[in-house]
Structures are given as structure tokens and as C-alpha cells.
Amino acid sequence: MNQQSQGLKKSFNIKRFIVEQPVFIIFLLFSIVIGILKPNFLGLSNVRNLFMDISVYGVVACTMTIAIICGEFDLSASSTFIWSQILFCTLLNRWGGSALGILAAAIVTLISGMIIGSVNGLIVTRLKINSFITTLGMMIIIKGVALVFTDGKMVSTSNGFIAKMGTGALLGIPYLVYIYVVFVAIAFFVMKYTRFGRNIFATGGNAVVAKLSGIKTLFYKYMVFVIIGFASALAGIMLVSQVRAGSVLYGTDLALTAVAATVIGGTSLSGGSGSVAKTFLGMLVLGILYKALIFLGLQAYYQTLIKGLVLVVVVAADAYLNRSGNIRK
């Protein structure tokens, strides 16, 4: 009986996947079409670049998914990302002479990201301020801090180790991609195989019922902000290793790209369900789309326009499908 029910489950899931993830399917078809129209698009170096590109944002998208599963949201990730690049570059230039110094720079950067996240978390859980407003305000504050710190100028580093880190590869696969994949794998494990992760699901699914079951919902809400702060800082370090500089201009679209990847992957904004693995796919699809836009020779502004439209469409579609689904009660 068990086997039979599992078989049933599988066929059911495929059908369900197609019904529930129209956006994903559309984008997949889109990238296939481009691949056919411009065969170069699927060339090896291009694919390699694609993965390089999505690694940095992907790390944050992965944690944004966790926040959304928990029913929260973080707009300030962009600014934390920016601040972390700048901080890391600055620290590298001071301490970068030794391996220990590099490690220290990375650790300090990561901790600063977690502190920012923890401030977000405290404001949301203690002062009970809507997470949009909180993180919108924090986004501006952190950006302000970054601007004051750098006086609006770019900070660059010529640290050799970190350059190798960003451009090097093992078995033809860039180091950054390994970091991304490991990060997603850990997140996947935590979300699926630990009570910590499951309680995040429960909190986002129905905080009242979760609380009745003895789950400390406020703690989990707080933690998702710390996690996303950590990931934003990690992404900052990854970007620095790639471009060897930090600037307030790098990554202003990070938070929204992360949301877009999450929704495209099939995690609903209504919370309580979703998966970081799906967001990995969502990020891939989004990466293909963005690459395709460049490949097709579209002007940068058109690219921005399309990115914005994509977000409007996926969020609206998600909300619409959810609401009309709920009507059946």
C-alpha cells in the first residue's frame, strides 16, 4: 500500500508542479527558445559565466526564500550587501597581508552583516513594526552609513589571494560556484532536516497554531533576519573577490532579484511553504533571462524595465492565484 501511495504521489506532484509553477515553465521555455535562436548562448563559457553570475545573488536569494517562508521580508539586504563589500575591501587593504588577516576581515564582515540583521529582527519582533517599513528604513540608513564611510567613492583592493578566490576554479568550476552550491545544500538540509527549519515553516504557515504547539515564533522571525544579514555579507565578500572593489552602485537590485527568484521558483509570498532548492532553479531561470537580455543586445535600460516587469508579473500572478485559490475555503 505504501508503495502504491508513493507512486500516486509522484504522478500527482508532476501535474501539480506544472499547474502551480506556470511562471517557471514560461521562463524555461523562454530560455530554450533563446538557446535555439542563438546557439552560442548555451556555449560552455557562457554557462560558466551564468553560474558565476548567479552565485553571488543566489546566496541571498536562498535566504530571502527562508525569510519569505517564515512570512517576513527584507528589503535592506541590498544595502547590507553594499556595506559588506565596502567594509571587506577596507579591511582587506588594512589586514590583507596575512592569511589570518584575510580570515579576520571575512569574519568581521560576516558578523557586521549579522548585527544588521539582528537590528532588523529586533525592530520587527520587539517594536512590532511591519517588516517592509523596517527594512526599507534600514536600507536607507545602511546605505547612508556606507556613503558616509566612503564619501560616495568606490573602494578597491588589489589583494592577490582574494582575486584568486574570485577568478580561480577547480575542475573547471569557479570557487564561487562551490560556495553557492554548498550554501544552498546547507540551507536545504537545515530547512528540511532540522526542527529549526521546520519551525520556520510552521511559523510562516500559521503563527497562531505554531505558537499553540509551543514554537517560539518570535525567535524564528528574529533569526531569519540574522540569517539573511549573514548571507548578504557573504555575498558582499563573494562580489569583492570577483570585481576586487566595493561600491554603493553594486547590487542595488539585489533584494528584488532575490524576491523574484524566490517567487519564480514557486515559493509563495504568503509564507509557510516553499523550498530553497526551488529558488536555486528560480535563480537559474532569472540568470538565463538576464543573460539573454544582454545577449540579445538590449540596452541596459530595457533590461531594467524587463526586470521590473518580471517582478510585477510574478508577484501579481502569485497573489492572484493565491486569492482565487482561497475562495474555495
Partner: protein, 495 residues
């Protein structure tokens, strides 16, 4: 439970109730809405505290601070509304926050096996890896039961467990309940449906107006006797008389259908008539009202107002076609509690207090005062925020708001819910007054005596279908109850 008393502001919900259940029995608890069943059970579950009295489990007095403490004593609960997280699987819901960890990770295989075993043991075969949202109501019920069992519950309270189940599902549930009993688990079974009490309970306790009326073995009490005891004094309760003769047909509803909820309901309503709609919670009463008013779309059927077919796609259409709806939840959908009486009254008909779109303060005050006075809203001023009013007075404001809108057809959904006896009588008087003024009223209520006492005619709904119609002369609690119960039986046969 001994000598339990619970008072809410203005209402004595439970009055010195002593209630005991024998181990390993299925004990029915019946009573009308508001009789105090839920309050009693919430005290047992630790959601509410009793003012006086004590709970004794296995000879030990206990006092539950919260649900967890009740759980620890082996008391499990299955509410009408499920306490499950929709986005998670059945297995995970059963073991929420207690998922088994092995070798540093959740042993999903074990968790699913254990959960599946619980479900299988109950004689159902659906996969526990399904998400709650994909389960039927009956399956959700099973998950709740399995959850209670996983806590080693010795006593399980089931509150209207069949309200959203189909006939087949109910039968299965009964088998499970009987099985649980044979394993020595005690069940308190709350239901409106006497059929069910007879088919599974050994003992039945009748609760009315916060007091225990009687406890009897089901074998020694007739169905009619139970109904009589449940309805009791309320049947003789004085309802104000009115002298109206219903006039021409103003509303004609034909074959109105909302997929899966309202199934081809046909009825009409006359001028100056009060038409009662009787039926259990979940019978489609509210859903029918929403469809007529335009709050929800209907899939099929015709609505005719004063002989003309009208298209109603929105609440605005409803209002434009002279239909108003007093909703069952006045705090969520009836009033903006932060706004004053005046604003809440005039919102349905702003053109009446404005000139070319601009509000005339003087007109608004004048009308609001007039309607507030006419309905006898007791308040120092119409500038009072509605949140400060008592339930009865709030309801009068909602009525005033619909009178002010000048609609001729008024649907009143649970117009006396949550208000005290004196205020209820005033609402009845107002309803009569409206009917005498030529308004046509549809009255939906869970309190049968009220429907019987107030209506010129009653239609009975069950499971979204119209089950019959009773004229004033035929009206009686027994007739309505029998109609509902009989149709239950018919349903079983038909499906």
C-alpha cells in the same frame, strides 16, 4: 467538572455546571447555540478559566493554565475549525515541534511511518505525506484525531466533528470513534445532529442557557424529548406580535447556485413579509445571502426584484437593486468600530446627506440623529465611537445603516448573535416595525425559536439545498428539526 461558573461581561455563560463523564464512554453534549457548550469545553481545554468550580481528572483536581497542560493530562481536542498548518504535511502536523531526531537530522522516514501507522490504525488510507491543504475535511479530522492520540490522549472532545463531512465520511468517523471507545478512550461528542447522538453515544447531556438540564442514557430518552429540552423555555418565549399581511412578491430567487456551496435554491419573498431561513451552521445560509447581495458571485440562477430580472455582480449592484445585508459578523464586516455612529449610519447612502458629492454636515447629523433615535440606539451622542457601544446597540447601528440606505429588501444574518435578552427583544420589535413599514425581510438565525417566533414563513436549508418550506401554521421546532434530520437520511440514500 464540578460547579463551574463562568461570567462574561453582561452574560452568565455557565451557571454552576457539574458535568461528569464515565471512562471509556461516548458522551453526547447537546444544546442550542449559546447554550454554553463551547465555553464549558474551552474551560476543560485551558483556553478559558472558570470563575468558580474545579476540574477533576481521574480523581485529581486540576487547573489548566493552557492547552499544553490539558494535553499533558491526556485531554485532546478537535475543534470545528482545525488547528492545523495548511502548508505542511499531515505527518508533520501530527508531530509538530516534536519531530524525531536521529543522527542529527529529522528522521522523516520514521516520522512518516509513525504517522502513517496512526492513520492506518484508524482505518483510513491516505498518505500522511500529503499537505493539509490537499486533504478533505474528513481527512483533516483524522489528522486531528491522530495528533490527539500521539499525545496519548485519554479523553477526546469533538466539537461538531461532522459539520463539514459528507454522509460516507461521517459513517467512517463513527467507526473510528467506536474503535477509540473500545480501546478505552473517552469521548465527549458535541453535536447539533441528534441522529448522530443516537447512533454513537451512550449518554447525553442537555445544556441550556448555561445550565445542565438533564443527563440521560440515550436509550431512555426520545428524540422529541431531547428537542423539547434543548429548545425548552425558549419556545414559549414571548415574541412580539405583528399585524401584517404579506403583499406582492418583491424578490424572486430561482435556482441560485454557487458551485459546491449553494445548490439551486429557489424561493420568493413578499412585501412586508419576514421569511426565516433555518438550517445548521454550514448549510449554505450565509453563502446564499452573500450571493443575493452580490458580495460573492453566483454561478447560476436568476434574481428578480419587483418582477424585473436584475444582474447582481457586486455589493453595489445589490444595494442599487434595493437589497441590503446585515452580516453575521458585525465587528469584521458590519461596522468600522473606530468610526462614530453617525459615519457608520450614513455610509450606505452618502448622496442623501450631500449635495453634488459634497457632504453637508448639518444633513448628516440630522439624519444620523433621526435614525439613531428611531432605532433607539442608547448613546449620549451620535459622535460616540461604535466600539464603545454594547453589542445590542452596535447591532441597532447596523440596522440603522441599512434603513438609511432606503433598501426595501433586508437580509438579516444572525441579527441577535452575541447580544443580551433585553436587546434581542428590541431587535425583534424593530424587525416587526420594518415589516409593518413594508420592508421585506429575510431572517437567518441559528436560534430556531427566534426563526419560528418571528417568521411568516420558513425555508429550511441543508447542505446548500432547499429542503422544504413551512407556512406560519405549520411552524414548529419539531417540524424544522425533522425536516433537517429527514433530509440527512434522504441524502444518505441519494448519494
Amino acid at each position: 467538572m464540578k460547579g463551574i461558573t463562568k461570567t462574561f461581561p453582561g452574560v452568565r455563560a455557565l451557571d454552576d455546571v457539574t458535568f461528569s463523564v464515565a471512562r471509556g464512554s461516548i458522551h453526547g453534549l447537546v444544546g442550542e447555540n449559546g447554550a454554553g457548550k463551547s465555553t464549558l469545553m474551552k474551560i476543560l481545554n485551558g483556553v478559558l478559566y472558570a470563575d468558580t468550580g474545579e476540574i477533576i481528572v481521574d480523581g485529581q483536581p486540576c487547573r489548566f493554565k493552557d492547552t499544553k497542560e490539558a494535553q499533558a493530562k491526556g485531554i485532546g481536542f478537535i475543534f470545528q475549525e482545525f488547528n492545523l498548518i495548511n502548508t505542511l504535511t499531515a505527518a508533520e502536523n501530527i508531530y509538530l515541534n516534536r519531530l524525531k531526531i536521529r543522527a542529527g537530522r529529522i528522521a522523516w522516514k520514521q516520522v512518516n511511518q509513525d504517522a502513517q501507522a496512526l492513520i492506518d490504525e484508524l482505518g483510513f488510507n491516505f498518505s500522511v505525506t500529503e499537505k493539509i491543504i490537499d486533504l478533505s475535511a474528513a481527512q483533516k479530522q483524522l489528522v486531528e484525531i491522530a495528533k490527539a492520540l500521539s499525545f496519548d490522549a485519554k479523553l477526546i472532545v469533538m466539537d461538531e466533528p461532522t459539520s463539514s463531512l459528507t454522509t460516507n465520511e461521517i459513517e467512517k468517523l463513527f467507526e473510528i470513534v467506536k474503535k477509540l471507545k473500545s480501546e478505552g478512550i473517552t469521548i465527549i461528542y458535541i453535536s447539533h445532529k441528534l441522529e448522530e447522538i443516537y447512533s454513537i453515544c451512550q449518554t447525553v447531556t442537555i445544556l441550556r442557557d448555561g445550565q445542565i438540564i438533564d443527563t440521560q442514557p440515550v436509550s431512555s430518552i426520545s428524540k422529541n424529548k431531547i428537542i423539547e429540552l434543548m429548545v425548552g423555555r425558549s419556545v414559549d418565549m414571548e415574541f412580539p406580535k405583528r399585524n401584517t399581511v404579506p403583499g406582492e412578491i418583491v424578490l424572486d430567487v430561482q435556482n441560485l447556485t454557487r458551485r459546491g456551496i449553494v445548490k439551486g435554491v429557489t424561493f420568493n419573498l413578499r412585501k412586508g413579509e419576514v421569511l426565516g431561513i433555518a438550517g445548521l451552521v454550514g448549510s449554505g445560509r450565509t453563502e446564499l445571502a452573500e450571493a443575493i447581495f452580490g458580495a460573492e458571485k453566483h454561478d447560476d440562477g436568476i434574481i428578480m426584484v419587483k418582477g424585473k430580472k436584475v444582474a447582481i455582480h457586486s455589493t453595489y449592484d445589490g444595494k442599487s437593486n434595493s437589497i441590503g445585508l446585515l452580516t453575521e459578523d458585525r465587528k469584521e464586516t458590519g461596522l468600522v468600530l473606530d468610526f462614530n455612529i453617525s459615519k457608520n449610519i450614513t455610509i450606505t447612502n452618502l448622496p442623501k446627506v450631500s449635495k453634488s458629492g459634497i457632504l453637508i454636515n448639518r444633513l448628516e447629523k440630522q439624519y444620523a440623529q433621526q435614525f439613531s433615535d428611531e432605532l433607539g440606539v442608547r448613546t449620549p451622542s451620535i459622535n460616540q465611537l461604535t466600539i464603545n457601544l454594547s453589542g445590542g446597540n452596535q447591532q441597532k447601528v447596523v440596522l440603522a445603516k441599512w434603513l438609511f440606505s432606503d433598501v426595501d429588501i433586508l437580509i438579516l444574518d444572525e441579527p441577535t448573535r452575541g447580544i443580551d435578552v433585553g436587546a434581542k427583544y428590541e431587535i425583534y420589535l424593530l424587525i416587526n416595525q420594518l415589516a409593518e413599514q413594508g420592508k421585506s425581510i429575510i431572517m437567518i438565525s441559528s436560534e430556531l425559536p427566534e426563526v419560528l417566533g418571528m417568521s411568516d414563513r420558513v425555508i429550511v436549508l441543508n447542505e446548500g439545498k432547499k429542503k422544504g418550506e413551512l407556512s406560519r401554521d405549520e411552524l414548529s421546532a419539531e417540524a424544522v428539526m425533522h425536516m433537517i434530520i429527514r433530509s440527512e437520511g434522504e441524502n444518505g440514500g441519494n448519494n
